[in-house]
């Protein structure tokens, strides 16, 4: 992905606190993060210093999210991930969760022109950011050229990893409309397809770039 920002590799571009940093801050005392129960963490949160002066949580906060060009308002606790908000609050279940820790890529969405794992991104970090999900690819009821290409080239089998792979491919083509094979491989390298249909994925993306 030579021409686009690669958040997965370079860390989140979050303006707020990343989930990991947030948890680390809480667990910095003698208590390990893994060992702390949710209630213990929440109790600490009440006294936690906030990075920019405003304290979010533990109660639900109202968020305004820009998803596929539409404005959505949800009220969730600040610890909730973008993947959870998309799936559970907004019913956008095209974004899948496969591993819940950023290892499989199934939950990939595009945030401000960069691919991110929605399972590793707090919903609050998406405030004010332009989010694109698989549901936003069609226009006027017509599939995008990339979606057509995945159908035409059989770029999928069980389909579970497909939305994430298509989002990474879209982000590549947005900035590099005619990629070479190596660029394609790099762009989708963060995805796991257990059906192993990688050769067909490459063909689908290359054909869409023609």
């Amino acid at each position: 992905m030579a021409h686009s920002k690669d958040v997965k590799k370079n860390g989140p571009i979050s303006k707020g606190v990343s989930r990991r940093g947030f948890l680390k801050g809480l667990g910095a005392t003698s208590l390990g993060v893994a060992a702390a129960s949710k209630s213990e963490l929440l109790a600490k949160l009440e006294h936690a210093p906030s990075p920019n002066g405003t304290l979010l949580g533990k109660n639900a906060v109202a968020l305004t999210l820009n998803i596929n060009g539409k404005i959505h308002q949800v009220k969730v606790e600040p610890r909730i991930t973008l993947a959870e908000v998309l799936r559970d609050n907004l019913g956008l279940t095209g974004t899948k969760t496969g591993c819940e820790r950023g290892a499989c890529g199934a939950c990939t969405v595009i945030m401000e022109g960069a691919t991110i794992n929605a399972c590793m991104t707090l919903a609050v970090d998406a405030i004010g950011q332009k989010i694109e999900t698989i549901e936003g690819l069609e226009s006027d009821g017509k599939l995008s050229k990339l979606q057509e290409s995945f159908i035409e080239n059989d770029g999928l089998q069980c389909g579970f990893c497909t939305p994430g792979i298509i989002m990474s491919s879209k982000n590549l083509l947005d900035t590099n409309p005619k990629p070479q094979l190596e660029e394609v491989k790099k762009a989708v390298s963060g995805h796991i397809c257990r059906c192993g249909t990688y050769p067909k994925v490459f063909e689908s993306i290359l054909a869409a770039g023609k």
Partner: protein
């Protein structure tokens, strides 16, 4: 033809179990499982968990209304452990709560006191202790004891193949809702809807007709949802009945990895004897299968190991013995290949061992012993329509093995620290469930009076493209446009008593049933059209939704014919049953004719090894595969490539590591690695054997799901050859997977 699902997948609109919109009042369940590998439960304390706001109910074994038993072949597995626990991750209690998160928090608050017993994780130790799932079985032919004397070269040794986590991207899960009159609907991510229905009926003490299991599609199965999708669906059903509300139970990735079984690790011994010119005269093997804590499908898997003991080779004297060993690991289960790959690894290792002793290339022994028509396999089936030699021959010519081997040699002469290896892998795989009774299927076809067609069968779509094939079968048989055919969900209410979608046989069995049902409707409509048009039935044909009389078009279309037929009270629905003919097997003699036919193919693999780092790349895989006349060539090509990648993963990457006390150490995707884009071979070329129609098959086609998986063994052999090129004297154990660590340990012994 395209899989209709594809269109939904690329939109993100296809529904997997966790994607169904939740009805009002839905509750979520999570599972508390055993923290120890073997012992007894002294006390379960649920008070703290019950107090957590949002927790509705905590269910343990005494809450089960029926039998606490989920074993299918052998009844040795409880849904919820009530006294003894046999593996880490064995379910003990279910928490039902307002959210999945609360349920999981409550799971952590349940405290269980155990009395620990020693755990056994090694199959050979279990065998020594007499812990067998069932009595050992032996397949034999000829007399190996007599044959050894005639052998010029005899080699013996041991092999180890590891487990393999299925890692279907959609984790196990189910959604249960109540119906009137005590009925239950289960939406399950299962390959075996009837298995879910039968076991749910047993556990919940309901007749099967009160339980409807519906399956839309799976986000991958690979065998992991053949038997092991059942407990989660039954638990969701139990919870729904106990709390009188709909319940969803979805495992998270690490829970799924800890609680479910995997491919069986095997530890095996072999002895092989050959004549001076490389003919294999005798072969003995003993397989120690690590079954885990319960039988699950282990005995059936063990049987297929025995069927594939000699892979693609004719060996006149064979004695193969297999033991299914009970250990304290999660019950291991079906996984693409079903025991076949484990057997093939042993015979290929034996051939390599013999070749090294004889100072010849293993491929020369492989080629010399390939099966041909008339050869009898150790279990009595006579080879017919054997195409392993044509596949081998085609591969050598089409992909120019001679040049490839020469290039590899030249490369190895020029490079000191990077070496290449070339290896071949022939595969002969029997098609049919080895349990003859399972080789049956049903189909229900409706033609609605607007001309649209709905097909229901027992086949489950899990990415293998069975729906695309069924659609082709229905469209071709009825003579309608494929667009007018819809493959409906797999539902026990529409098609009953189904076999699981497994053994590569989903399209074959359900396709034949679909064909027969469509033929019935077509015949009725032909007769009706003949009467309407005042002609003979023989003159009527249907093609692309048009009605032809003696080959000429007519005013009548499919839609108008169907509409008229309805008003004339012609039945537009049909149900059909198919049972594979001519197959049988006598377990008392271990002889018979268990397979409808065989799938054949060969792969040639080149691996490039960094001898300093132990890392490798599979440069190329060239395949010639016999799939008859394909019903859906693109689908089949995807199956070949996908199975190959998964097979290479098993052989050269995926390391299921348990601690000595039975704890899974590789329990997330960050510690258990499966093939990604860069691990997949750089180049895969697949050629389908030409002029290979298979008259007995569904529209002359052959099954495809499992056979190409075993090409992965070729990658292991190629890596080994690269290691040998670097260090010819290295003693390389026959152990898979070849991780970089294992490569280095073999190249640089202490």
């Amino acid at each position: 033809m395209k899989n209709k699902d594809t269109n939904l997948h690329v939109r993100g609109e296809s529904c997997f179990v966790d994607d169904f919109p939740c009805p009002a009042g839905v509750l979520h369940a999570a599972v508390k499982s055993s923290a120890i590998a073997h012992g007894t439960i002294k006390r379960i304390q649920i008070q703290n968990a019950e107090k957590l706001p949002g927790v509705k109910r905590i269910l343990c074994a005494p809450d089960i209304p029926g039998e606490n038993q989920i074993g299918s072949i052998i009844q040795d597995e409880q849904l919820l452990a009530d006294h003894e626990v046999h593996f880490i991750g064995q379910p003990i209690a279910i928490v039902v709560a307002e959210t999945a998160e609360i349920a999981r928090e409550a799971v952590e608050l349940i405290s269980i006191a155990y009395k620990e017993k020693p755990a056994v994780v090694d199959a050979r130790i279990a065998a020594k202790n007499g812990q067998l799932i069932a009595p050992p079985r032996t397949f034999s032919c000829g007399d190996t004891d007599l044959a050894w004397a005639q052998c010029e070269t005899i080699s013996s040794g041991s092999t180890e193949t590891g487990g393999q986590e299925h890692l279907y991207l959609e984790t196990q899960g189910a959604f249960a809702s109540l119906k009137e009159d005590g009925g239950l609907q289960l939406i399950s991510s299962t390959q075996g809807p009837t298995a879910v229905q039968r076991i749910a009926a047993r556990v919940l003490d309901l007749p099967m007709h009160k339980i409807e299991v519906d399956v839309l599609r799976l986000g991958g199965g690979f065998g992991g949802k053949e038997d092991q999708a059942t407990p989660w669906a039954v638990m969701a059903g139990l919870a729904a009945i106990c709390v009188r509300r709909p319940v969803k139970l979805i495992l998270r990735r690490h829970e799924d990895m800890i609680m479910t079984g995997k491919r069986h690790p095997y530890s095996s011994d072999f002895k092989i004897g050959l004549t001076q010119d490389g003919k294999i005269l005798a072969y003995e093997a003993t397989y120690y299968q690590n079954a885990g804590a319960a039988a699950d499908l282990s005995t059936a898997i063990l049987e297929r190991t025995l069927f594939h003991a000699s892979n693609s080779y004719y060996i006149p004297n064979v004695k193969a013995t297999a033991l299914s060993c009970r250990t304290n690991l999660p019950p291991n289960t079906a996984f693409r290949g079903f025991g076949g790959p484990q057997a093939m690894f042993v015979i290929e290792s034996a051939i390599v061992a013999a070749a090294e002793k004889m100072g010849v290339d293993a491929s020369s022994i492989q080629e010399k012993n390939l099966l041909k028509d008339g050869d009898e396999l150790p279990y009595g089936q006579i080879m017919a329509a054997c195409r392993i030699k044509p596949c081998w021959q085609h591969n050598t010519e089409r992909f120019n093995w001679h040049e490839k081997q020469r290039d590899v040699q030249e490369f190895n002469q020029k490079n000191k620290l990077v070496k290449k290896g070339f290896a071949c892998m022939p595969v002969t795989f029997g098609i049919s469930f080895t349990n003859t009774s399972l080789n049956q299927a049903g189909a229900l076809v409706h033609v609605y009076n607007d001309g649209s067609v709905s097909v229901s069968t027992g086949a489950v779509e899990m990415g293998q493209g069975v729906n695309a094939k069924l659609r082709t079968v229905a469209a071709r048989t009825l003579g309608v446009n494929p667009e007018s055919v819809r493959i409906d969900s797999t539902n026990t209410g529409r098609v009953a008593n189904t076999s699981p979608t497994a053994a590569s046989s989903g399209a074959d069995l359900n396709g034949h049933a679909t064909r027969i049902a469509c033929e019935q409707i077509r015949q009725r409509l032909i007769e009706f059209a003949a009467a309407t048009l005042k002609t003979e039935s023989e003159n009527i044909t249907f093609e692309n939704s048009r009605i032809l009389v003696s080959g000429r078009e007519n005013d009548l279309t499919w839609n108008s014919l169907v509409d008229s037929a309805y008003w004339a009270r012609v039945s537009l629905s049909a149900q059909a049953h198919y049972a594979t003919p001519k197959i049988h097997f006598d377990k008392s003699k271990e002889k018979g004719h268990p397979f409808a036919y065989y799938s054949f193919g060969t792969a040639a693999v080149i691996a490039r090894l960094d001898c300093i780092r132990g890392t490798f790349i599979i440069e190329s895989v060239d395949i010639v595969h016999d799939l008859g006349t394909s019903l859906a060539p693109k689908v089949d090509l995807g199956q070949v490539e996908g199975a190959l990648v998964q097979g290479i993963g098993w052989m050269a990457m995926e390391d299921v590591v348990f601690s000595e006390n039975g704890q899974l150490l590789a329990n997330t995707l960050s510690t258990y690695k499966i093939p990604d884009i860069y691990f997949a071979p750089e180049k895969i070329q697949t050629h389908f054997l030409e002029n290979a129609a298979h008259p007995a098959g569904l529209f002359h086609s052959k099954a495809i799901g499992e056979p190409p998986f075993m090409y992965g063994i070729g990658a292991w052999l190629a890596i080994r050859n690269a290691m040998k090129a670097f260090r010819p004297q290295a003693e390389i154990p026959f152990t898979a997977p070849f991780t970089p660590e294992r490569v280095l340990m073999a190249l640089y012994p202490k």
